[in-house]
Amino acid sequence: MSDLLIQVLDVDGVAVLRPEGFINAHTVRQFEAALEALVREARFTILLDCRDLNYISSAGLGAIMGLIEPVRANGGDILLCDLQKDVHEIFDTLGFTQLYRVFATRDEALQCLKGTH
């Protein structure tokens, strides 16, 4: 089984990127490429659905960090939902929960976006 599988969905005009497995220095290029492809397609509202993300290292956090500026400069945002406890702890430890909007569920995130999208 691959360390990382990535599914990209369109839900009500929002690009939902769903990583499954582990994001570390080995798999980060795959994750980064998926994010970059969305930005190239001018999909600037990106929801990272982390339900099946078991683990993310600083390499993965750097990939998100590297795209937040172009995304926000184009009126979009990167949002996070459904973080597992350990993954939430990593985001929280580094202050990412202040920098990004984090939702308990995908529905909650999409509901919030309906008002702004």
């Binding site: 360390d3 582990f22 570390n24 220095a25 080995h26 683990y55 290292s57 600083s58 390499a59 956090l61 750097g62 990939a63 960090m65 590297g66 937040i68 500026e69 406890k85 350990d86 702890e89 990593i90 430890t93 580094l94 202050g95 202040q98 920098l99």
Partner: protein
């Protein structure tokens, strides 16, 4: 067979390739549980090990795949020590500069977060030079 010398320990030597990261972190997580840590703490240990081994592969060895990373886990009565040794470019304690988290959030950029995670998730981190190369020692106490 003789009983293992104190402290009990085991070693894993991997090629300097990121494809082995998952193997190492999984092992570190299980070892932390064996040492008496809970699931949340063992997850932090595994992240710190990921970051430290990644630093060796990417920075100390510059991404060259033909070197070795030597990882030794020692079980002390109240702590677990993780020794990560290599023969690449050394990182010295006085070269380690942790990013300021507040500044980082104000001026987002890639990189620099690994050492911060290591320092937040472990109780002690030391970088030293040994006779055979360099070592990153991380200690997590069992509470």
């Amino acid at each position: 067979m003789r009983a293992p010398a104190e402290p009990e320990s085991f070693r894993l030597v991997i090629p300097s390739q990121t494809r082995y990261l998952n193997l190492v972190t999984g092992l570190a997580k299980r070892a932390a549980i064996v040492a008496g840590m809970d699931d949340a703490t063992s997850a932090k240990v595994s992240i710190a090990v990921d970051e430290a081994v990644t630093n060796v592969i990417v920075h100390a060895y510059g991404g060259e795949a033909e070197h070795l990373v030597d990882i030794e886990l020692r079980f002390l009565p109240q702590a677990m020590e993780i020794h990560i040794c290599h023969t690449g470019r050394p990182i010295r304690d006085n070269e380690v500069v942790l990013p300021d988290p507040g500044e980082y959030l104000k001026f987002p950029r890639k990189g620099g977060l690994g050492l911060l995670l290591m320092s937040r998730f472990m109780d002690e981190i030391r970088f030293t030079e040994t006779a055979g190369g360099s070592e990153c020692l991380m200690i997590k106490r069992v509470v």
